[in-house]
């Protein structure tokens, strides 16, 4: 079965997102096992370096171009992808589970009659069948699923699949001008949070909990985040108390994250918080209470006072970075 795989390449401000490259590489590994092929689609106005998706395994990429599609339009994007799929007989679709991918993939699934596996963290291909592993209950459990429909959509959690080292291969880029896109739902503007890294996309996250004792002490969390080039996060307790915005919340009713390094400051480790961060590659916990549940998932811990230890960490990291 020579499956044709289509990968959606997400762009923001004309730049390709890293999570889309992870999807191309993963699709290309799967394509090898299925003796299939990988092509890519991207939608926007000006998009930089699209040919580079070739290095991750896509043979060709089609750029659907229109100034009104520079920002996301759920209706416009879904129509273009499903039309492309019909014209090109696509069997499998890959998306990154970014906020755009999570919104768009189900729409494409309906329009193309495809089964849908969301937020996959592992794909295994056995005898021409793809088994997807995905977390449920915010990671308190995992399920292995198989899609029984002929067409299938896989949506991959960002920062879990490795995009590998790209080869020098360039993809063949073709540009299609879109005449009158379906703009029944349209993003008209984007408000950026000033200069901050988002927890959902960060390689390193420094989070604070109730042990920080008050909103005024989160400067310490932010200072450590800054020397590490990290995003600052927060536990549900401090978000509910109004100390920090919800966009920073890590856990079951916040964001589920898997950065390379997660530093928990004054966080005891409620089950809903652990669910949201336990898949981080390395976890550091600083907490006064040596019996706090956070130490059960931490790789390294210091059972002491955050107000003494964090300033020392900032100094030590500055020293090695200089």
């Amino acid at each position: 079965m020579a499956d044709k795989i289509l990968v959606f390449i997400e762009q923001r401000n004309g730049k390709i997102k890293k999570s889309s490259l992870e999807a191309v590489k993963t699709a290309s590994d799967i394509a090898q096992k299925l003796s299939g092929s990988v092509e890519a689609i991207s939608i926007g106005n000006e998009i930089e370096n699209l040919e580079n998706v070739g290095g991750f395994g896509a043979g060709k990429v089609t750029h659907y171009k229109n100034a009104d599609l520079e920002n996301y339009s759920p209706s416009g994007y879904a129509d273009i992808i499903s039309n492309y799929s019909t014209e090109n007989n696509i069997d499998l679709f890959f998306f990154a589970a970014s906020s755009m991918g999570k919104d768009l993939a189900p729409r494409v699934a309906i329009k193309t009659d495809s089964g849908l596996a969301m937020d996959c963290i592992l794909l295994n291909c056995e005898s021409n069948e793809i088994i997807a592993t995905r977390p449920i209950y915010a990671g308190k459990a995992l399920i292995d699923v198989k899609l029984t429909s002929p067409k299938k959509v896989f949506v991959l959690r960002p920062n879990v699949f490795n995009s590998g080292t790209p080869t020098d291969k360039k993809a063949e880029v073709s540009v299609v001008n879109v005449d009158s896109p379906n703009l029944s739902v349209k993003v008209v503007d984007i408000k950026k949070s000033e200069g901050k890294i988002d927890v959902a996309e960060a390689d390193i996250i420094v989070s604070g909990g109730r042990g920080m004792k008050g909103p005024e002490h989160f400067k310490l969390v932010e200072d450590l985040a800054q020397v590490l080039g990290a995003a600052s996060g927060a536990s549900r307790a401090v978000v509910d108390a109004g100390w920090r915005p919800h966009s920073e919340q890590v856990g079951q009713t916040g964001k589920t994250v898997s950065p390379n390094l997660y530093v928990a400051l004054g966080i005891s480790g409620a089950i809903q918080h652990l669910a949201g961060m336990r898949s981080s590659k390395y976890i550091v916990a600083i907490n006064k209470d040596k019996d706090a549940p956070i130490f059960q998932v931490a790789d390294y811990g210091i059972a002491g006072d955050v107000f003494e230890i964090v300033p020392a960490m900032i100094e030590e990291i500055k020293k090695i970075k200089s």
Binding site: I110, L228, K290
Partner: protein, 248 residues
């Protein structure tokens, strides 16, 4: 205007999850179930919209008799009517969406609110799927909602900011935390909800395209090293992060 809100009945976020003996589903023993947290924001926005523009509200839930508890809670918050689409069997997101879409059509609701995801299967797709089946405009993960005449303007949370999204009715909106502060049920509301009838219906059976092969708990993480109890442990911590973990 008729406004519908779809609600699910899910394990409490504080619950420990155990797998049932078939290895494919949750063992519900000892698990407390609650109104899906994101659905509370959807219910609140439904009530606020009715208070502003008038109309009638209906809550729809798909699941077993146990879901009546969740429906009673949202009736107590002030929703006018409730429908239980009774089906105990496993349904994938598409099959859930299909049943909800049928009922929304029957109810003739032109504005629909959902939570952005249920905190059980965490798919965060049923809202978008339902909207596509209905042919409604859909905005997901919404933190602000404004309806003026036929026009809807929402803020939608994305990585590192918010998108301002415009569309028109009929529409389906999925709610993110931050959209509003859900109200508590008043005593009067709770008493009134007890007397209300929950309409039960049998949704059409459907084939699933997502087959669960197995459900398991993640491998337990090896507890790591506690390096000390004060700042003297910091150089060793930083050395390990740099040399052993290679993350800084």
């Amino acid at each position: 205007m008729k406004i519908a809100v779809c609600v699910s009945h899910v394990p409490d976020t504080a619950a420990k999850i155990n797998i049932g003996s078939d290895g494919k589903a949750l063992d519900p023993n000892g698990v407390t179930f609650i109104v899906n947290p994101y659905d509370e924001f959807a219910v609140e926005e439904t009530l606020k919209t009715k208070e502003k523009f008038g109309g009638e509200t209906v809550a729809i839930s798909l699941g077993s008799d146990a879901n009546k508890e969740t429906l009673r809670k949202v009736l107590a918050m002030g929703i006018d009517n409730a429908v239980l689409l009774k089906d105990d069997s496993y349904r994938d997101s598409f099959s859930v969406a299909k049943a909800l879409a049928e009922e929304i059509k029957t109810q003739n609701a032109e504005l629909v609110f959902f939570g952005k995801q249920s905190v059980d299967f965490d798919n965060s797709v049923v809202g978008q799927l339902t909207a596509e089946i209905l042919g409604y405009n859909c905005i997901s993960v919404v933190v602000s909602f404004l309806l003026e005449g036929n026009k809807i303007t929402c803020e939608r949370e994305i990585e590192g900011g918010k998108e301002i999204v415009e569309t028109t009715l009929p529409a389906l909106i999925t709610a993110q935390k931050g959209l509003n502060e859900p109200r508590y049920a008043s005593l009067k509301g709770i008493m009134a909800a007890k007397k209300k009838e929950i309409l039960e219906k049998q949704p059409a059976a459907l084939n699933n395209s997502v087959e669960i092969i197995s459900m398991k708990k993640p491998a337990p993480k090896q507890a790591g090293k506690i390096l000390g109890t004060d700042a003297t442990a910091v150089p060793e911590l930083v050395r390990l992060l740099r040399e052993e973990a290679k993350v800084i």
